[in-house]
Amino acid sequence: MYGVREMIHFHNYSCRYAAKDVLLRKLNLHIREGEFVFVTGPSGGGKSTLCFSINGLIPNELQGSEIEGKVVVDGIEVAQVYPYELISIVGTVLQDPEWQLVRGTVKEELTFALENMGVAADEIDRRLEEVAERTHIKPLLLRSTLELSGGQKQRVAIAACLMMRPKVIVLDEPTAELDPAGKEMVLETIHELHRKWGYTIVFVDHNLDVTLPYADRVVVVAEGQIIADVPPSKLYDVPDIGKRLPMPQIVELARRTGVRIAGRDGSSADPLTVMELQAALNDSRKAGSPGRLVSETPIGENSASPIIELKRVMFRYRKHEEELTIKPMDLKISRGEFVAVIGQNGAGKSTLCKLITGLLKPQSGEVLIHNKPSAQYRAQERVRHIGFVFQNPDYQFVARTVYDEIAYGLRVQKLGSQEIDAKVREVSALLQIDAYLQEHPHFLSRGERRRVAIASVLAMEPDVIILDEPTTGLDSVRCRELMKHICNLWQQGHTIIMLTHDMRVVADYIPRTILLSGGQIVWDEATRTVFTRGAEELSRFNISAPPVVELTRLLGWQSPALTSDEFVEAMACIETRGTPAEASGGVS
């Protein structure tokens, strides 16, 4: 797949910022031409610094960065040239799909860099034809970049890189802000570019479940150092790596059931795809069906009175628009429920939540909170019932310290200072941010900022907390930590509504799932029932079930295991009885 020529070389490379924060320490890394290198690790570990050291933004663009050692790309020492001198060698795709596109139409975006380099118009024409063909974006060329979906925007960003005919493509978390369809689109594009056209790929991401099978090598960067540099199937052979980097579900299942496969070099390795694990399980004769797994309390049998009720609610953003954003909708959510709202971008998830929080008023129908029409609540009263945590916590922060930020809503409610202090300390302890109370909220890590945003809403003690994509962009350790906090809140009696694209989070933690599509509720049922549906039915709504669900489906189980624990337990039953049978415990 890849050649022997060295493309990127980090030689004793260190980087620090503002003369104190060490971002990378004495790094030595060799990447060969045509390799697909997957760079991962905890947030803040130095992954983006590594990317920016390859494309030259460090040290030339990021003021205050100091380097030692050198990075050489295709024979050129990066620090000796300006980043714009490197663009025909290194193409970069950044995380934010909106703000990295700087021109009005796709065609302008593609031609912009070549215009800046002074390339002749007929040569631009030739490259445009070639790149549009390779990345399948011909139908988008004349469209405004504002009209594209997140996945299409990232595909355009990749295409814009290719116009420069780079040898290396560096992607810094390009799928972090995308829905599953967008993620798939980006990964397919990159995979094809690597496989078919031999580009060297440096791909930074947190999602091991999806990315690991595509990579030739995994480089794990933590605390500024490379702690693993191995083939993906050997990653968890590195001692203690699992503590910093939770296993992708397939590897976890394989390890817990004692399954190994033969690696490329013939030695023992971890399976990386559902198909590989299924084949290995079949070979080891561990496959079988445990019967029906126990289902959660059926939805609709919850006897508690609804805390939120929507009665024939309809909404459209503009009166003259024919299409309704929310079609006549009935919905009941009871006290103490934990509900996932899923669906592709544009399905109406955010609009539904804005209707519940009162940010939008329904065109017809009624939103009831505690059986009282939502419109009758004033903003200050409403926050005691409904709290809404935005996807991007930066939209929320108005204060200079975490303490003041959490206290902000309480001060708006004109509570006494002692009461405010008590509540701030209580929620900050609960979400483990009490150590940062005097820090500036904007300067915390992404996971910490999310927790501050949740704390600022939680301090007002709302009955219902709505969270918009709280796990987006978090590494798996922080994602698990955050979900643990959210589950704590649920167990304390809060009603939680979570908008999410992360199906593993849905399967692992959330008992009830609502699927929205085209502004209407398609399914509203127990999460297990949702995932019991066939892959084809799920893919109609761009839902990719978690690997364990896919695996149990391939193994022919009657109902899917939702979590790794369930799977392992059911497998233990199968092994104990020797034959596929009805089992006890988690299985009925």
Binding site: N55, E61, G118, A379, V383, G409
Partner: protein, 259 residues
């Protein structure tokens, strides 16, 4: 919101430079030189006819509502000044004196008409010219590269910036900060508090854009290629010539008849 919409009017086919020169400069000067309501009404009629000719969609037409509101608000300021003439009504409000007089009425109507005409002329440019043509048009005036790039970025990002500001306001609303109730001071404080998250969000956005521009070769010293570089056509030359002639005729008529 995108102001440009594709259509087949002659104005849609013209070069950005032609439209900026004709409607943004030559025809925009004329209302300055008109002191009579009748002259401005003729100009207004011509501007409205041009708007009708380019058939803007409903969304664009609705923009006339805020324009009219702004024009009326600005014109009302004349009623707090003394522009002479016969006084019809006068109310002493302490520091301010509200006065309806023939002079005030005349100036208010003139300002109202001028404002509407200018807005219509700029709408003609923005409704019929896509972002790329606006930038190419500006470039033809000899503006430096960074100015045209700034204009292009503004056209690209302004709707996203408005969206961000609105989201920040929503985020504060769901925390109990109601921008529609409370005393003027309370509301002012709440609006001011929005500026902090807006500033931080924009700083992060602009950093991404700055990196993106560097990685797309902005700042290189070499001569730039203009891949899209339309030339002025006969239609453009006729339009510019026609606008210059209209201005010249108007100046002549004005000086002869003292209009």
């Amino acid at each position: 919101m995108k102001l440009y919409y594709p259509s087949n009017s002659l104005l849609h086919y013209m070069h950005g430079f032609t439209k900026i020169l004709t409607f943004g400069l030559i025809l925009s000067i004329m209302p300055f030189l008109m002191d009579k309501v009748s002259s401005l009404l003729v100009m207004l009629f011509i501007s409205l006819s041009l708007i009708a000719y380019i058939r803007p969609p409903r969304q664009q037409r609705l923009l006339l509502i805020p324009v009219i509101i702004i024009a009326i608000s600005m014109s009302l300021s004349y009623f707090f000044a003394d522009m002479g003439g016969e006084v019809y009504a006068r109310v002493d409000l302490g520091y301010w004196i509200f006065q309806i007089s023939s002079g005030n009425l005349n100036y208010a109507v003139l300002l109202f008409l001028r404002t509407i005409i200018w807005c219509l002329l700029f709408f003609i440019i923005l409704f019929t010219t896509n972002d790329e043509d606006v930038v190419i048009g500006l470039k033809k005036f000899g503006l430096p590269e960074f100015v045209t790039l700034s204009a292009a970025l503004t056209l690209r990002y302004w709707s996203m910036m408005i969206f961000d500001v609105k989201t920040v306001m929503d985020a504060q609303y769901v925390r109990g900060a109601d921008f529609r109730s409370g005393s003027l001071w309370t509301r002012t404080k709440r609006f001011a508090s929005v500026l902090i998250p807006v500033l931080f969000v924009f700083l992060k956005r602009f950093r991404t854009t700055s990196y993106a521009l560097t990685l797309k070769g902005v700042g290189r010293k070499n001569k730039r290629t203009y891949y899209y570089n339309p030339q002025l056509t006969v239609l453009d030359r006729r339009m510019i010539g026609g606008a210059v002639i209209v201005l010249a005729i108007w100046l002549a008529v004005r000086s002869i008849y003292d209009l």
